[in-house]
Amino acid sequence: MKRYFAVLLGVLTAIGGFVDIGDLVTNAQVGARFGWSLVWIVVLGVVGICVFAEMSGRIAAVSHRATFDLVRERLGPRMGLLNLVGSMLVTLLTFIAEIGGVALALQLVSSVHHVLLVPFVAVAVWIVLWRAKFSSIENVLGLLGLTLIGFAVALWQLGPDWSEMVATLSPAEKPAGESWATYAFFGVALFGAAMTPYEVFFFSSGGVEERWTSKDIGVMRANVFIGFPLGGVLSVAIAGCAAVVFLPQGIVVESLGQVGLPVAVALGKIGLAVVVLGFFAATFGAACETGLSVGYSLAQYVGFQWGKFVRPTEAAGFHVVLLVVTVLAAGVLLTGVDPIMVTEVSVVFSAIALPLTYFPILVVANDPDYLGEHSNGWFANALGIFYLVVITVVSLAAIPLMVVTSMGQG
């Protein structure tokens, strides 16, 4: 019974924790501009994150060490440093975007400008990172994030023509006014949002925090293969709501407030309140995850004691890193930079950094010295290699597309 409860809790928190500010904004933008014609990218991205999250979870469960603890050892300090710098900068950028996202969510209920809220949000995030238990952060915020199911209810209530929706799933149904370059740019951004590198840092380090063993591989797979795809359904619902409400009116999504507007149209104030709670939980949860991920990756590379399973005094370096990155994130946002713009940049740079994150995972997951009988089989390798090709193409295409389309402006 306890095991079933663990699976259920894990799946629910995986669903609620799947969506972050990047998913919220990018899916709504894509739905408003391209309708359903980019949904296949969400499916591609969700399968990809499942493939690599399962590998990194398996590495943590069998070796009792986080993925990037092993990357330096297995691939050497030079490759480890390249990996650290690329992935950590993207995660830091995502951390800034998430803190901005929390402030934007609070702005929607208070109408106080988000810049004024940033210091309070940063202090709250830091206190949670310092004081709260790992399982509390994961479970409470993950379960609250489930309120984003409001988007699926709203989509059903908006009553789109489902047969027409199916007919427009093909890339050929891209709106005529949009260029193929812009379509490809948003495809890259959507893929980057679905496969954000911090998700695997957090997942594998979380496995070590929760002291997974080989016996937990089944539960971990249930979380990944049930929770993540259902989280992907929420992403599609966000895009769908925007496609139904905004696309016919030619409205482009540029703010978090607009992301929730279709829910207000469909469900009214109560539905909107539920979804705004989801915005807060999703962004606050992701702020904690990205903040911890920056600390994890740096501490694992340098060799500090890390994690929340030890007292802060025993992992002082790790907690100093958390404090410094929180102050840095707040400082950047206090300059008045638009958090939505930071989000847009972070998802594109996530796409650029994908090979740096996922190639080492594939290498370590194939090493029998670390994983023994649990190292990758042919199917995991076939999927891993397929995705490595895809993410390399995406990574190489990201900057040219960003320049050619002026960040998707057309």
Binding site: S111, I251, E254, A264
Partner: protein, 155 residues
């Protein structure tokens, strides 16, 4: 001695080549292309249509009591700020001589849109959402902006 002279000549040639680039760039400054201005106008008009549509949707949803006041105010304020930026960005561009008349018309239309979105924000601040005349005007304005954008898109 000979090699020194060759070095001096080579350095002078390199300096001349380096100076030639910027000088050439100065002399080839051309008047702005009409097609580029048309593209910018099309983007500004469609962006403005989006802002007017967004503000209208927020106001209308609040009128039907499906949106709480701070949320509606945030949405309309963001639309007003973005509308101002759209107008400012286009007005800063140098207009090609053959587009002077069109530019005046487009900038007038954008100014009307900015004023209308500002009016919508005033209503949101006052909490007076039930203004069918304003909503109707915004709907017609958004359609007109979209139509004008389409005209510039098709060249």
């Amino acid at each position: 001695m000979g090699s020194q002279r060759r070095t001096v000549v080579a350095v002078l040639l390199v300096l001349a080549a380096l100076a030639a680039g910027p000088l050439a760039a100065c002399t080839v400054v051309d008047e702005p292309a009409a097609a580029d201005w048309d593209h910018s106008a099309e983007r500004a008009l469609s962006d403005m249509a989006s802002e007017v549509g967004s503000a209208r949707l927020a106001l209308d949803t609040a009128r039907r009591e499906r949106l709480w006041p701070p949320y509606a105010l945030v949405l309309v304020t963001e639309a007003e700020e973005a509308a101002g930026t759209v107008e400012e960005d286009l007005s800063r561009l140098q207009v090609p001589p053959q587009r002077e008349q069109q530019a005046e018309q487009v900038l007038d239309l954008l100014a009307v849109a900015v004023t209308t979105v500002s009016e919508a924000r005033s209503r949101a601040v006052e909490g007076r959402y039930d203004d069918p005349a304003l909503l109707d005007r915004m709907e017609r304005l958004a359609s007109r902006l979209t139509g004008e954008a389409g005209r510039y898109a098709s060249g």
